[in-house]
């Protein structure tokens, strides 16, 4: 009985005490009036426990011999484990009770402290003599009320004569502390909450408390193991214990039973009721057999064929090891990052950890969760056959001829032309390829010698009436016998004779211009689109090379020459119905080819051989036949905003650069949609250009690069043009979010000029 029953009792100690108290209660009729009877013993018991614990602790602290002797005397032994349990469990309670003492309040929780089983007051020892522990304390007659009602009064209740029971004086915390230090009995002093008196527990009391805690008989003297008196033995005695005569029903068969049995027998006979079979063990267990026979062929059903087996769980990597190589452990930052990620986003669903030995490896917390998730996947996750492609990325790269085999093309930066003080917006090369003209935002036009990089001439525009100083466009007359440059600035187009190169040519040009005489005055009747004015030789500007001025109604953004050099066109994006004007140099006449605006014109170009005009609006390029005066084609660029355009020397292919980083190649014979769209640039494409002789084209972009591509056009109509990017030319710096603004090929060499926002012009050869 001993060990087992004790261990059983252990968890419900209070139960035991309850019973004891209840038993004693039953002897007293008066007390059963209390409503809170069930709680009472609990609280009182708790208190005792606390006090005894405290005693326990104190004794262990002070190494007090008394306590030990007391234990010995009472003949009880607390096993070490029990002691530990007590001390750990009651640490908090102990603190609590100490607090209570300090504050000196009688807390409401500790109400109904009517019964102090083990309390012996110091002042009235005589009462203890006759008082049984269960009896109600009658020193305070207030009854079963919360004692906090008396908190604000100097007294705590009334004694049996009706006199006030005054609260005993209580010292402050210092007194308490001194008491704790000095008083050897402090550890076994408890406060009687009913009277407010301090009570020192005697050794017997302590023994009793300990006995109660260890679920033993409260009285240590009581004999636990009394000899068992076998009162009712199995042996037959000659004398019966009781000598009542047996009742009649004990030997007469039961009528009801007979009836029931009869019914059952009948049911059995009829087969309605069957005797229950006794269960054998074998039945309970599953018995396995050879489910798959050796020689049996498995039938392959359609169901079986359609079955998609679930993918297997991934196998563990090195990082999952209990002792991984050190590099797999996460650093603090990585760990933090891992913690902050959503569980679904994590690449590893565990934190790698290292344990010095196998003995220290704990159980994995999420093991069951992971298994469960796997189960969910198995029966809830939709399955679908997935084709896993194993593609070599090299195969995706189109097979193109190597750039090395497509030479010549510009590969390296050769010359940097410096001199401008602001963005260089536009450049143009003269037909011989000796001279270069550039226009900048600082209002100057500079002429450079290509081969040396020397600035031959610089013309600074006067502001005055012209207003805006930006040079928007420059264009060298493509005719080799004419030395003229068209400059678009503000609302004017200026024709300048730079006076460079062959003297004959320059003089010739001057003469031709000078000898012009307005023959027909028929134009008077017509509307004048642009105001032509020639500059006198006496004018100061003549020295600079200014020859003709064309005043436009709106700002001019671009000028471009016809291949033969007699016509040139100017673009006024805001000019509505006269946004494109075509000027004839020989007759000094301007005409407006369109009488209706088709959108904001971005740029225009003449067909190199045939009388066509390409007009690029924001999203479309229209091709007009100038002879027939009709629209011959409309190209869909598929881009948001066209920035520039260039025509192949054959005239059948054009390229278009756009602000949405694209470059589209159109084959006019084939389609009105781009044959190929190249997205090579990261930023807006500002300018595109074809080489006149070599199969090259270039595009300049705001990302500071010029990309040169090989663009071979075959004479065979069935063969598509071959486009291969051959070189990315870098050099221009990006400023104000602008990179390279214009690029032009040298007319005869495979060289490309580019100008940019970093105020330089560069030649790549």
């Amino acid at each position: 009985m001993s060990s087992k029953s004790r261990s059983k009792r252990k968890p419900d100690q209070f139960d035991f005490v309850d019973k004891g108290v209840n038993d004693s209660d039953s002897s007293e009729s008066e007390e059963s009036v209390y409503s809170g009877l069930e709680e009472e013993p609990d609280t009182s018991e708790e208190d005792q426990e606390q006090s005894s614990n405290q005693s326990d602790n104190d004794s262990s602290d002070n190494d007090d011999d008394e306590d030990i002797t007391l234990d010995d005397k009472s003949g009880l032994e607390l096993s070490t484990e029990q002691r530990k349990e007590l001390s750990t469990a009651s640490d908090d309670e102990l603190n609590e009770i100490n607090d209570q003492r300090y504050t000196g309040n009688v807390k409401s929780q500790n109400r109904k402290q009517q019964k102090q089983i083990t309390v012996k007051t110091a002042d009235r020892p005589d009462e203890y003599d006759y008082d049984s522990s269960d009896e109600e304390d009658i020193r305070n007659t207030v009854g079963n009320i919360p004692l906090e009602w008396y908190r604000e009064y100097p007294h705590i209740g009334y004694d049996i004569e009706g006199n006030r029971l005054l609260k005993p004086e209580k010292g402050d915390q210092l007194d308490e502390f001194l008491n704790k230090m000095d008083n050897p009995n402090y550890w076994r002093t408890v406060t009687n909450k009913m009277t407010g008196q301090n009570v020192v527990l005697s050794k017997e009391d302590l023994g009793l408390i300990q006995n109660l805690q260890s679920s033993k008989h409260p009285d240590s003297m009581a004999e636990n193991y009394q000899p068992w008196i076998d009162f009712f033995t199995h042996e037959k005695m000659i004398h019966p214990v009781t000598n009542h005569p047996q009742h009649k029903r004990s030997f007469i068969p039961s009528k009801w039973e007979k009836l029931k049995v009869g019914q059952m027998v009948h049911a059995l006979k009829m087969g309605w009721m069957k005797p229950t079979k006794a269960k054998t063990e074998e039945e309970e267990e599953e018995n396995f057999y050879m489910l798959w026979k050796e020689d049996e062929e498995s039938e392959i059903t359609r169901r079986y064929r359609a079955h998609l087996p679930a993918p297997k769980m991934p196998l563990p990597s090195h990082a999952e090891s209990y002792n991984p190589p050190p590099e797999y452990l996460l650093t603090k930052e990585e760990e933090e990052k891992w913690q902050n990620m959503e569980p679904e986003e994590r690449r590893m669903n565990f934190l790698p950890q290292k344990y010095p030995s196998l003995r220290l490896v704990p159980a994995y917390k999420r093991f069951i969760n992971e298994r469960f998730e796997r189960c969910l996947d198995l029966y809830l996750c939709p399955r679908k056959p997935k084709i896993r492609m194993n593609i070599n990325p090299e195969d995706l790269i189109p097979k193109l001829p190597k750039p090395r085999d497509l030479q010549p093309f510009p590969t390296a930066q050769a010359i940097v032309y410096r001199g401008h003080s602001d963005i260089v917006r536009t450049i143009s090369v003269d037909p011989t390829g000796q001279w270069l003209v550039s226009g900048s935002d600082d209002g100057s036009v500079r002429f450079w010698e290509v081969s040396t990089g020397r600035c031959m001439k610089s013309i600074t525009m006067e502001t005055g009436s012209l207003g805006n100083m930006c040079i928007r466009s420059v264009a060298w007359n493509p005719h080799p016998d004419v030395s003229l440059v068209a400059i678009a600035m503000g609302q004017t187009v200026i024709l300048v004779n730079p006076g460079l190169g062959d003297k004959m040519v320059t003089n010739n040009t001057d003469n031709v211009l000078h000898s012009f005489s307005p023959t027909e005055e028929e134009s008077m009747g017509k509307k004048v689109y642009a105001d032509w004015s020639s500059i006198d030789t006496s004018d100061k500007r003549f020295e600079n090379g200014f020859r003709l001025l064309l005043q436009h109604p709106k700002e001019v953004s671009q000028v471009t020459w016809h291949g033969r050099g007699d016509y040139f066109a100017s673009v006024m994006p805001k000019g509505d119905s006269m946004s494109v004007l075509i000027h004839q140099l020989s007759r000094r006449r301007s005409q407006n080819p369109f009488n209706k605006s088709k959108g904001m014109v971005q740029c225009v170009l003449f067909h190199p051989v045939r009388p066509f005009l390409f007009v690029a609006t924001q999203r479309y390029v229209r091709v007009y036949n100038l002879l027939k005066q009709e629209l011959s084609k409309k190209l869909m660029t598929n881009c948001k905003w066209v920035s520039s355009m260039a025509v192949h020397s054959g005239g059948d292919n054009i390229i278009i650069g756009s602000y949405d980083c694209r470059l589209s190649w159109f084959d006019l014979d084939v389609s009105t949609k781009p044959y190929q769209t190249l997205r090579h640039h990261k930023r807006a494409v500002r300018a595109v250009n074809y080489h006149r002789k070599y199969p090259l084209f270039a595009s300049a972009s705001d990302d500071g690069t010029v990309i040169v591509c090989h663009g071979m056009v075959y004479n065979d109509l069935l063969k598509n043009p071959l486009i291969v990017p051959v070189k990315i030319l870098k050099g221009h710096a990006i400023s104000h979010d602008l990179g390279v603004l214009d690029c032009v090929f040298h007319p005869s060499q495979p060289w490309v000029f580019s100008c940019g926002a970093d105020t330089t012009i560069r030649l790549f050869t």
């Binding site: 229950t276 599953e286 396995f288 057999y289 050879m290 489910l291 798959w292 498995s298 039938e299 392959i300 079986y304 679930a310 769980m313 196998l315 563990p316 990597s317 090195h318 999952e320 090891s321 209990y322 002792n323 190589p325 050190p326 590099e327 797999y328 565990f350 950890q353 344990y355 030995s357 196998l358 003995r359 159980a363 994995y364 917390k365 999420r366 093991f367 069951i368 969760n369 298994r371 469960f372 189960c375 969910l376 198995l378 809830l380 939709p382 399955r383 679908k384 593609i391 990325p393 995706l396 790269i397 189109p398 193109l400 750039p403 190249l678 997205r679 090579h680 486009i723 051959v726 990315i728």
Partner: protein, 588 residues
């Protein structure tokens, strides 16, 4: 006369799929019963190609089952059992509420039961199919087998799972089919090769269980219910394939005396305990000749004429045979802090003998004082009264030996020593993956071993010790060598510094310096050129393929980054270690 107009959603995908609710309505089951049925029958949802078409134009997310699957479920006899069970519960409740004990008992005795044999057969028409799908089954059974008794899971399941896993482990031991083992932080992974199929399962570390709250144990129980049936049949078949009794019978049965641990057990429990100790061999069906048949060597692909392949297969078979007898002739003793079952399982499946202190568990075969013990496995820094006649090693040694298919030198595994990293044997390095240096060393060693494997095989046991000694000597000599090198280095450096000072002195005087030719690195230039060409070619990838290409390249880049990161980390750690050791040396 036009044709009758076809209505939408009356043909094709719309009729091939059924949402879950529709399925439940059709089968007239509760959701829980439907779930159980799906789990038992292995029916899973399907993802239709065009969801919108299936859902009649709506795009609401739903789970779809194939209509054919649901029709198939409708013919399942177990559905009737479910219904019977429903009635059973109803009757039982009634009896309980009326406090009619007799009726309650009677009803309980007549609890409807169902068997899953036919479902196993149906789901796995051939034994190979069943083996192929065994991974999850094993992991779940091992999990349930180690679960503690509690309110969450029915005890019946736990006992059943435990019994079957023990039987399975006995089979693995008897057939020597264990191949790889790995201690991870999640549990211990095992990989066995059974009839040509790789089976991988994980056993949790058997410590401090905590049941999570966010797990539905009913789902897991249903799985285990099926898995235990499956594993039972598989065990039966496997046992018979190597001529063993099923249910397993121990070799020495009644003869062994009753232990003190076993005193208060029933006969059945005692038998089960002995069985789960894994320390005894099983009795085979035909006495005597059993041993040889177990070790049947298979030479696959004999029909192939290719001599290379035959040779390869031979080498492979040889290797496996060597692995199977890795611990043959060795006698192990396990200390009590070591995970007993795992180690017994591993050591015995590689031919070793193993025992433990008899107070730890039932089934110890020899005491610690046995002089013939060769290895004692210890997981504590130091042990008292050591025997000189045996090695004391940490448990990781056993695992690493198995994964390396050879007995490793034991220095770094002695008790108290810092263990070398434990690497996963499941990782197969592809090109560009990070390979930890330890792994690299292992691969190199294996390659080296393979070249002259024929010579070394026979005298491994004796050679081990020799090797150890040699290695020690080598290390010493290396150290000696290092020192003079350092001295030389210093001297060199001295020379250099002297020369430099002389140069400086010269420079003070005015002089003409010889122009150095520009360093023209042809290779670098070529490389740069090819890089540029590649970049240019990349630009010409059409948009259609560009995405795919970018994805592939991104993945490649990520992988490279990771490997580089790991490499750098490792290097940093190593340099730190070196510097620390240097400091220590200096201090000394």
């Amino acid at each position: 006369m036009g044709r009758e107009r076809r209505k939408k959603y009356e043909k094709g995908e719309a009729t091939a799929f059924m949402s879950r609710n529709q399925a439940i309505n059709k089968l007239q089951l509760t959701l829980a019963d439907f779930r159980r049925l799906c789990i038992l029958k292995g029916i899973y949802p399907h993802e239709p190609k065009h969801k919108k078409r299936v859902n009649k134009g709506s795009t609401v997310h739903k789970t779809y089952y194939l209509v054919k699957d649901i029709n198939f479920l409708a013919h399942e006899p177990i559905i009737n059992k479910f219904r019977e069970f429903k009635h059973f519960v109803r009757r039982l409740k009634k009896a309980i509420n009326k406090r009619n004990k007799d009726a309650e008992q009677r009803i309980r005795n007549n609890k409807p039961k169902y068997k899953l044999d036919h479902i196993v057969r149906e789901r796995y028409p051939s034994f190979q199919d069943a083996l192929g799908d065994l991974d999850d089954c094993l992991s779940m059974c091992f999990l349930f087998g180690t679960m503690p008794q509690g309110a969450r899971v029915h005890m019946e399941y736990i006992n059943h799972a435990r019994k079957l896993t023990v039987e399975f482990m006995h089979y693995i031991i008897a057939s020597k089919s264990l191949r790889k083992v790995f201690i991870s932080i999640k549990g211990i992974y095992f990989q066995a090769e059974v009839m040509g199929q790789q089976l991988t399962w994980v056993v949790p570390h058997g410590l401090g269980y905590q049941h999570p709250d966010d797990v539905d144990y009913r789902v897991m129980q249903t799985f285990v219910e099926f898995y235990t049936t499956l594993l039972g049949f598989i065990n039966f078949k496997l046992y018979h394939s190597i001529n063993l009794h099923y249910p397993p019978k121990l070799e020495l049965d009644a003869a062994t005396p009753v232990d003190e641990n076993e005193e208060n057990m029933t006969e059945k429990e005692r038998y089960q305990e002995r069985l789960s100790a894994l320390s005894q061999t099983l009795r085979s069906l035909d006495e005597g000749g059993g041993e040889e048949e177990v070790q049947l060597d298979e030479f696959p692909a004999v029909e192939t004429d290719d001599p290379d392949r035959v040779e390869k297969a031979k080498v492979e078979a040889e290797k496996i045979k060597k692995l199977q007898n890795l611990f043959k002739g060795l006698k192990f003793f396990l200390n009590r802090e070591v995970p007993r079952e795992t180690l017994v399982f591993i050591i015995r499946s590689f031919g070793g003998d193993v025992s433990w202190h008899k107070s730890v568990a039932v089934g110890a075969t020899y005491p610690e004082s046995d002089e013939s013990i060769t290895h004692q496995i210890v997981d504590r820094p130091q042990t008292k009264n050591q025997y000189l006649s045996r090695y004391y090693v940490q448990p990781q040694w056993v695992f690493d030996c198995v994964n390396n298919t050879s007995l490793l030198p034991m220095e770094s595994y002695f008790p108290g020593a810092t263990l070398p990293p434990h690497l996963s044997p499941f990782v197969e390095e592809a090109e560009g993956d990070y390979v930890p240096p330890e792994r690299q060393a292992l691969i190199n060693r294996q390659l080296g071993l393979q070249e002259d494997s024929g010579v070394e095989e026979d005298e491994e046991g004796s050679e081990d010790e020799e090797e150890d000694e040699e290695e020690e000597e080598e290390e010493e000599s290396e150290e000696e060598e290092e020192e003079p090198e350092k001295g030389r280095g210093k001297r060199k450096r001295k020379h250099e510094t002297e020369a430099a000072t002389a140069d400086q002195a010269k420079k003070l005087n005015m002089s003409v310096e010889a122009g150095a030719p520009e360093n023209f690195n042809v290779e670098q230039k070529l490389q740069r050129q090819t890089m540029e060409e590649r970049r240019l070619a990349e630009m010409m990838i059409p948009k259609k393929k560009k995405r795919l290409y970018d994805k592939i390249m991104f993945a490649k880049k990520k992988k490279n980054q990771e490997t580089r990161k790991l490499k750098e980390k490792r290097e940093a750690i190593e340099t730190q270690k070196k510097s620390e050791s240097k400091k220590k040396k200096k201090k000394q």
